[in-house]
């Protein structure tokens, strides 16, 4: 039988038995739509987190005082025994590593910032000029902290966009003296609006030189040290060097936690990929259920079309031709259903993007390929048995029913 005729024959069947066609289309369509929609959501979440982490800064290694119990802990989580302080000398010593491009020590606290009569309790970050480049921050007005000896207390500050707006309103900002805590600082720059990046939002903070912050908060201990490796490949070397340098300085104790952005990222990536796969698996199960539905519908069709099958055989159709006819119908129907499912799935994805524009919902390519393929394969597999049964019908008996 010619291929074009086979398709035509199958198309006639599809048109002739509308209920059955609709049922199968629905089953396949829902299965495929589910896989596409669900994997879009999962992949969107994954990409969102990856991008968020990505904006942390490239090639970043973070040093925290204290040893955490588990590796790959999030920055900001401190679990450990009595931590030895991370000092400025520790931080400066890290520059010795050949894999390290630059470092920025961090001290953090909260203080009242006074501008004229206005007061705002604001997080205050103490660091060095390198912080700007390590974190990829941008200055909107004026300049960032000047390069200087980190032990020198310079009475300058850089304020975040939101802080500036709240404290100064429309009044001029640069060059104005503000009071932070019990000291006076001159504003030399305003940060560009940045938005949130995993809890670090420059809009809401004030940045002062490290020594000034240490004096403000009366502490020698560093909150963090940010280390930038020279390249992506050197991140691991930087990490190893940092650990070793600090171990030697701390009398052989490993009492710091060194986190690479990579490790955290990798963990999240793994978790979310696994989640997406798991949900895709569940959606695939729905396809299998659809397959069982197809098998039942096809079996009913074989019974319904007994006389027709008997006739076809009487006219000289071989068993193989009968089987082929049924399988072609299954392929046609499943492809149609899959196409519909893809369309619906993408519509859901589009709707999700409208609702949550921040999250890059996007069905991964493997889902868009695998879902329709699974649909077609399922349909064919579950039609094999009914097709065989049809092919084995005895024409005389099949025709004899009135």
């Amino acid at each position: 039988m010619r291929f074009a005729d086979l398709l035509d024959f199958a198309w006639q069947v599809v048109r002739g038995y509308r209920t059955r066609t609709l049922l199968i289309l629905l089953a396949m369509g829902i299965g495929v739509a589910a896989v596409v929609a669900v994997t879009s959501l999962g992949e969107g979440a994954r990409l969102y987190v990856v991008n968020q982490f990505g904006s942390l800064g490239t090639n970043l290694v973070v040093v925290l005082p204290g040893r955490s119990e588990t590796s790959g802990a999030m920055p900001g989580v401190l679990i450990g025994k009595t931590p030895r302080d991370l000092t400025l000398d520790d931080a400066l010593a890290l520059k010795r590593s050949r894999a390290v491009r630059r470092i920025a020590p961090l001290v953090i606290g909260a203080a009242d910032v006074h501008v004229g009569a206005r007061v705002r309790e604001t997080p205050v970050l103490g660091s060095t000029a390198e912080l700007k480049d390590i974190r990829g921050m941008e200055v909107a007005l004026g300049r960032f902290l000047p390069e200087s000896d980190p032990r020198q207390i310079l009475p300058v500050c850089v304020i975040g966009a939101k802080v500036a707006a709240e404290l100064f309103g429309a009044k001029p900002v640069l060059g104005v003296w503000v009071r932070i805590g019990d000291r006076r600082f001159r504003v030399i720059g305003i940060m560009a609006r940045q938005g949130e990046s995993l809890g670090f939002n420059t809009d809401e903070i004030v940045i002062v030189p490290l020594a000034a912050a240490q004096a403000l908060f009366n502490t020698e201990a560093l909150f963090r040290v940010l280390v930038e490796a020279k390249s992506r490949e050197q991140i691991q070397y930087a990490k190893d060097d940092v650990e070793e340098i600090l171990r030697l300085r701390h009398e052989g104790e490993r009492d710091v936690t060194v986190i690479t952005q990579d490790a955290v990222l990798a963990t999240f990536d793994r978790i979310l990929r696994a989640l997406t796969l798991a949900v895709a698996g569940i959606a695939a199960i729905s396809l299998a259920v659809a397959g069982i539905l197809i098998m039942n519908v096809m079996l009913i069709a074989v019974t319904q079309r007994r006389r027709e099958i008997g006739l076809l055989k009487a006219l000289g159709a071989t068993g193989a031709q009968i089987r082929l006819a049924f399988l072609t119908e299954a392929v046609l129907l499943s492809m149609g259903g899959a196409a519909g499912g893809l369309a619906v799935g993408q519509t859901i994805r589009y709707a999700a993007v409208q609702l949550y524009p921040a999250i890059p919902f996007q069905a991964p390519w493997w889902a868009l390929a695998a879902a329709p393929a699974t649909a077609v394969i399922t349909a064919v597999l579950f039609t094999l048995a009914p097709a065989r049964r049809a092919a084995m019908l005895d024409p005389v008996q099949a025709l004899s029913r009135r």
Partner: protein, 237 residues
């Protein structure tokens, strides 16, 4: 052309074995017009099915044009059936979702004949059977007689050796029945071999050779001289 020797066909109905054909011997030459008559259950339809390669005997041999077709597989039977046998069923068995012309070309589609060739044969068949203006209609829009002509056109589409008709006038009014017979007889006139199964002696007596069956055996086989129609029950040859 057709030689059946010692054909046995047994069915299992429930617990019983029913011998539908008992040791039937039959020779049919090309161009014969044959009727098979007998009461219900006599095995006439079964014999027709065996002749038409629709059913395989349990014992005996069947030689078609000198070739032994008894042992062929289902698929091989289908292929021989496709080109050599044309069936006209009592209840038409037209595919309801296909138009008249799609029904007629069905055997050609199954045989893989090219669309251009199909169209040619289709045009000729539609003309021969007066179905040109009904070609695109579905069976439910056709009268009984038209349906039967579609069925015959379908049977003829592969230019088979033998036309096998099972009760062609079975459930139709007299007038359409005569129409159908006229068509069959014209086929015979043009050189075709026609085998008709019927329980109606008036129909059966129009054939030039008449078989009678009872209980799976052929009890009489009469030939009428050309042009003369004898009534059923006449003298045996």
């Amino acid at each position: 052309m057709i030689r059946l020797t010692g054909i046995e066909r047994t069915f299992i109905v429930g617990d019983e074995m029913v011998r539908a054909l008992r040791g039937v011997n039959l020779e049919i030459a090309q161009g014969e017009y044959l009727s098979i008559m007998g009461p219900s259950g006599s095995g006439k339809s079964t014999l027709l099915n065996v002749i038409g390669l629709l059913d395989r005997p349990n014992a005996g041999t069947y030689a078609l044009d000198g070739r032994d077709v008894t042992g062929l597989s289902d698929d091989e039977l289908a292929r021989v059936r496709r080109v050599k046998m044309g069936f006209v069923f009592q209840f038409f068995h037209l595919v309801p979702r296909l138009s008249a012309e799609q029904n007629i070309e069905l055997p050609m589609v199954l045989a893989g004949i090219a669309p251009a060739e199909r169209r040619k044969r289709l045009a000729r068949l539609l003309a021969d059977y007066g179905l040109e203006d009904r070609a695109k209609h579905c069976p439910e829009q056709l009268s009984g007689g038209q349906c039967q002509r579609v069925a015959i056109a379908r049977a003829m589409s592969m230019s088979p050796l033998v036309i096998l008709a099972d009760e062609p006038t079975g459930n139709r009014d007299r007038h359409t029945g005569q129409d159908v017979l006229a068509v069959l007889e014209r086929l015979h006139h043009d050189g075709g071999t026609v085998v008709v199964v019927t329980h109606d002696p008036e129909i059966g007596s129009r054939a030039h050779r008449r078989l009678r069956m009872i209980d799976g055996a052929v009890i009489s086989d009469e030939r009428a001289p050309d042009g003369v129609q004898e009534r059923a029950g006449g003298a045996a040859t």
